[in-house]
């Protein structure tokens, strides 16, 4: 069995006084301190980052982290757009399973606020299909199309989408690492400016800086010595056509459906066994699609579920979603998001989620999406 034995996440937000590798350094030494481990106990590092190459002309991240570690162990930088963190974790887990290492640190980090929004949006656009970029589609535009299809097909409104933001902002107020610590109302969302109709500013995750790290190991001694540990039950990656125009259905992300199916099978669990999930809510519509594609709710019903705030942490329901605040309120430093999600599940399953702790959770799920569903990573964790 491979376990997560420690986690650290920096504050997410506009961290103007920190560079990309300041954030990585804080996460590396933060997780070492939390686990009371030494650098020398780490056999390899997997690092998820999307934009370092585009924004900073800085891609050789493994060697940069080696400098922080003062070591010669193998290090890998992985990229799958906003799923960079998730695939770093997936590959680290498979690396251990393959016997290449016992103990691996997985880091996700992103530095986005040093650049004007239009440059960041254009850089993020690099994860979309070339012909759709040429047609002028940005990520808000792509998710706007998905939202329009979902609303038309199942009869939902912009107010229904807004409920996702309201819930996640509420969760954000309970997470001191979250970028936004402020509650909002449906009226606030409706009153905010359109980014790509029907999606508005307050339907959208922000541009953020941040880093997150976990340590995973199959070393039994380390696991039994760890103050808190959870088991990795499965991790699955699935892909789909990068272009929306090539997809069979626009009311789902097929990559999520496929990854989830495999992850549940590998863990021998059903969606109903999961009581806590961190899902990829880069836009409000993305959380609705995830709730259905992960099998928590029937296709076409998530719009009603969110209206009743069923998945809010204080509603004691069968499934609670995005207690970290999600991408919307916790922030979305893209490479860090997938690791932060695993970190949140770790905190919840080990009873360390403080004032947002849910009652007795046994199984948790992290769902990280790259682009508008070109890649999806679903990982299931348990105690």
């Amino acid at each position: 069995m491979t376990s997560i034995i420690g986690h650290y996440t920096t504050r997410f937000g506009e961290l103007w006084d920190k560079s990309l590798y300041d954030l990585v350094e804080e996460a590396v030494f933060g997780v070492l301190e939390n686990t009371r481990m030494e650098k020398g106990q780490i056999d390899a590092v997997f690092y998820g980052n999307m934009l370092g190459g585009i924004l900073e002309n800085n891609v050789h991240g493994g060697a940069k982290i080696a400098e922080l570690f003062d070591t010669h162990i193998p290090m890998f930088r992985l990229e799958a757009a906003c799923a960079s963190g998730g695939i770093a974790f997936h590959n680290a887990y498979k690396y251990i399973q393959a016997g290449a290492a016992e103990t691996v640190m997985v880091i996700g980090a992103e530095k986005m606020t040093d650049y004007p929004a239009e440059i960041v949006v254009s850089a993020l656009g690099a994860a979309a299909a070339g012909e759709e970029q040429e047609a002028g589609l940005t990520f808000p535009g792509l998710y706007g199309i998905l939202a329009r299809v979902y609303m038309m097909k199942y009869g939902y409104t912009e107010e229904d989408l807004a409920c996702v933001s309201v819930k996640n902002h509420f969760h954000g107020t309970l997470n001191k690492k979250a970028q936004f610590q402020k509650e909002i109302t449906v009226a606030d969302v409706m009153d905010s400016a359109y980014v790509a109709s029907p999606l508005k500013i307050l339907d959208s995750s922000p541009i953020s800086d941040g880093a997150s790290a976990i340590i995973i190991t199959k070393n039994k001694q380390l696991i039994s010595k760890a103050k808190y540990s959870i088991n990795i039950l499965s991790s699955a990656v699935a892909t789909d056509s990068i272009a929306l125009s090539k997809r069979a259905n626009l009311d789902e992300l097929a990559a999520t459906v496929h990854a989830a199916k495999r992850a549940y099978a590998e863990a021998s669990l059903k969606p109903q066994d999961i009581s806590i999930a961190e899902v990829h809510d880069c836009f409000t519509i993305a959380e609705l699609l995830a709730m259905e594609d992960l099998g928590f709710f029937q296709k076409g019903t998530a719009g009603k579920v969110v209206r009743d705030y069923v998945t809010r942490h204080d509603n004691d329901s069968a499934i609670t979603i995005n207690t970290s605040g999600g991408l919307k309120a916790a922030g979305h430093p893209v490479g860090a998001t997938g690791i932060k999600q695993l970190g949140e599940i770790y905190l919840q399953l080990t009873g360390n989620a403080e004032n947002r702790q849910i009652k007795s959770a046994r199984y948790g799920l992290a769902h990280n999406v790259g682009g508008s569903g070109g890649t999806a990573v679903v990982s299931i964790l348990g105690i």
Binding site: E14, W16, D17, T113, P116, A117, D191, A193
Partner: protein, 342 residues
Amino acid sequence: MVGIVSYGFYIPKNRIRTEDISERWGKNPQHIKNSLGINEKAVASHDEDTLTMAYEASIQAFKGSNIKPTDIEAVYVGSENHPYAVNPTSTMLAEYLGVGNDYTAYDTQFACKAATGALFSTLGFVQSGMVKHALVVGADKATGRPGDPLEYSAGSAAAALIVGTQKVILEFLGGTSYSSDTPDLWRRDGIMFPSHSGRFTAEPGYYRHILGAAKSLLAKYDKKPADFDHAIFHTPNGTFPARAAKAMGFTIEQTKHARVVTELGNSYTAAAFIALCSVLEHAKAGQNIFFVSYGSGAGSDAFMFRVTDEIDSQRKGLSKSVKSKNYIDYVTYLRHMHINQG
């Protein structure tokens, strides 16, 4: 006693309302008013610029004072929009005013605090006895890129202060500065509109420097907010100075006369002096004034002044200029700012 012996200002009559800009960009005007605290801004005409407005403000400063232009031995003009990249505004101004030739002059540039920086130097210059009288002017015809948030705030105005030692209306009690290399707003030579980094201009820019200078001034002279009757915090918009004043422990009562930005917009280099001119319309002899500017790049100059008995002889009504206005539409605004010429 060294200090300000006279002052003048010029506010162009044209105004454009926040609504008339926001509707062009499909923005909710109430959101903009709430976030910027600006209802309308003053706009210089197509035939006005930094120099013409500096001249208008300067002649008002001489009017009614016992200082003649030929008494001036130093002329400094601060602006973000000097008419020439090379060729001083200050000598053109001095020539038009008839200062003669026995004066020193230069233009200053430090975003919105170019003129308070010059005032800082001038007070020292006069205090040292090297010159008897100096003219310090802040003037700007400012705008933002169409569609940029700066478009709602960047305005036009000029203000002139004469510094001397006789018949001082505003005695200089002390000052300090706080500076760092913080590029929150910049404009390269030949580029029409400034660039800025959004919210970065707030916390690491404005607040760090203005609060840094304000705290250092109070500490240096062992003063507290309650020792002052009026407080002026630089006015890039209506909300920043209110938050800064509150953070320092100043009351709304102490800052109420400095809030003309709401109706005039941010006249960049002139803005701090315009707020001071507004306070001087109401200030009484014996009152103390706390005055802190901010310039992107970044720095703040903080001053303490005491109003003297001479104030009544020099008092001028800025409120009359605030009320004297003529509304223009967005296209007229673009024409006045020469934006149609690219």
